[in-house]
């Protein structure tokens, strides 16, 4: 049931209360690529990590997040959705579309963009590591 005050539906509420794939991978893993977006002073900060398999697919992801319930839930949902995708697919994965599917309030579009930016920054790091041709596809760090 949609919460009348916040406008959050059941899925957002469930992922906010029990978010999936939280935390960070152990440092030193060469297959892990990190990206960040937002700043705490602006009310929203996301760090996303992607562990990419030798086959070039996202095996797992982790994130840390400071933000509203929508930001936390979108991180959780995106981390599930990214599993098994190629880096190229992850680079165009739309968290904004995910937010629209969830019928998040319009003012939460910034939350979706921040999560999306963090994911794309992580993909950018991966592409950079693959060589100049890949790096050109996605910018490595998103400035907000």
């Amino acid at each position: 049931m949609r919460d009348p005050f916040s406008g959050y539906g059941d899925t957002v509420q469930a992922h906010f209360r029990a978010p999936h794939n939280t935390g960070r991978f152990a440092s030193g893993d060469a297959r892990v690529f990190s990206g960040s977006a937002g700043a705490r002073r602006h009310g929203r900060q996301v760090e996303f990590q992607l562990r990419v398999t030798d086959a070039g697919r996202i095996g797992e992801s982790r994130y840390r997040v400071y933000g509203c319930p929508a930001t936390i839930a979108l991180c959780s949902l995106a981390s599930d959705a990214l599993q098994g995708r190629t880096a190229a697919e992850a680079a165009v994965f739309s968290v904004v579309a995910l937010a629209e599917q969830l019928q998040l309030p319009a003012e939460k579009r910034d939350a979706a963009l921040t999560v999306e930016d963090a994911i794309r920054a992580a993909v950018g790091r991966y592409n950079s590591a693959q060589g100049p041709a890949s790096a050109a596809r996605v910018s490595s760090q998103v400035q907000v």
Binding site: P19, G43, V65
Partner: protein, 389 residues
């Protein structure tokens, strides 16, 4: 999520005391005191008698004369009547009003309206504890000042101003003094015979009475004149027209009677529970920050800032709790509390501050459960947060 909600938002509104509800029910139906108190017939005179008894009960709580109590629809209307009433009546004497930055919106928005009408308003910044000191008022006064409006207890942080001392400053400068006492009536002693206060606003629903009823104290000696804001029938000495809502007035009277008789018991109960809540929260979250003065305060309000987490998430995580971020009147607005920002809190801490307010029906078990839930959710959210950036 538990279906049972623990209510710790007594500063927003209180449940009606069952004794009050019983009295009110006696004023609604054919066999009750339902007639128009302005009617001259017997049922009307009976209703008038019930209204006058309630007026005396309200006056007794604050040591005023019954004839100095004007019934309104609530503290917001009382604030409007007091501030605009004085400003309009005495506009030829001066057009300057002094208030503070952390007044209730009922005062601030009314002052903004006066500014649109050509008045000038000085908004005093509180000290770091959220208090308005008498010397701050002294410094803000001008030769053309006509009114000072300062709240007794702040609705968000619970700090209590020294109303008698501020009143002496206003009196020395021959300026009228209005006090919003919505959060203090029934929680702190108020003595209008001794205090140099000209106008004081009261609410019914903050004192276990019904919503939709309030009162304005208007000093009779020295007399304060007001321009009425509602016209039509000349009720309440011509200051507030409209058929008197007998059931609500009787409810407010009964609520104030109980508050007077049980003041010491209510204060002891709320003080103990508030202290228990703060101790439990502080033990579980040592970095938690108390907003407001540690001792110069009302008994039931506790405002705590939780550093390092986002405010909307904390409040949403505490879904089974009825608590408030900022005052209830502004909680729909997600911007950080203007009161906490006026105290110098940054946006993050202001945004992650929660107002807990305990009351007559709060239990020790509820307080302990609230402390457990809030601290668990705080630590859960804190775990998610990346290094500051």
């Amino acid at each position: 999520m538990s279906e049972k909600v623990i209510y710790l938002d007594y500063a927003a509104t209180t449940p009606v005391d069952p004794r009050v509800a019983q009295k009110m029910a006696g004023c609604l139906t054919c066999d009750g005191v339902f007639a128009n108190p302005a009617s001259a017939h017997a049922p009307g005179r009976k209703a008038r008698g019930a209204v006058e008894q309630a007026r005396a009960q309200v006056a007794a709580l604050v040591n005023a004369e019954p004839g100095e109590i004007i019934f309104t629809s609530g503290a917001t209307e009382s604030d409007n009547l007091a501030i605009k009433g004085v400003a309009h009546f005495y506009r030829d004497k001066g057009r300057h009003v002094v208030t503070s930055r952390i007044e209730h919106k009922a005062v601030l928005d009314t002052c903004k309206q006066l500014e649109r009408e050509g008045f000038e308003v000085t908004y005093i910044k509180p000290d770091a504890n959220g208090l308005i000191q008498p010397q701050m008022v002294e410094q803000a006064l001008r030769p053309d000042s006509v009114l000072v409006s300062i709240m007794h207890v702040n609705n968000e942080i619970g700090t209590a101003n020294d109303i008698a001392a501020i009143g002496r400053v206003a009196r020395a400068h021959d300026v009228f003094f209005h006090v919003d006492a919505a959060q203090s009536a029934g929680k702190l002693p108020i003595d209008l015979e001794q205090w140099p206060v000209d106008l004081m606003s009261f609410s019914g629903h903050k004192v276990y009475g019904p919503k939709g009823i309030g009162a304005l104290y208007v000093r009779s000696e020295p007399r304060v004149n007001l321009d009425p804001q509602i016209h039509g029938g000349g009720h309440e000495h011509g200051l507030r027209s409209g058929t008197l809502a007998t059931h609500q007035i009787v409810g407010m009277g009964e609520a104030y009677r109980i508050a007077r008789e049980e003041l010491a018991k209510d204060v002891a109960h709320c003080s103990a529970l508030r202290e228990q809540l703060w101790q439990a929260l502080h033990a579980a979250v040592p970095e938690a920050v108390l907003n407001g003065h540690p001792s110069q305060r009302v008994c039931g309000i506790l405002n705590v800032g939780f550093p390092g987490i986002e405010g909307e998430s904390l409040l949403f995580a505490c879904f089974g709790l009825a608590v408030s971020s900022g005052s209830a009147c502004t909680s729909a607005d997600k911007t950080p509390s203007f009161v906490l920002r006026a105290l110098g809190r940054d946006d993050q801490l202001a945004g992650s501050s929660i107002r807990f307010s305990v009351g007559r029906f709060t239990t020790e078990a509820e307080v302990q459960e609230v402390a457990r839930i809030v601290s668990e959710e705080y630590h859960r959210l804190r775990e998610l947060v990346p290094a500051a950036g």
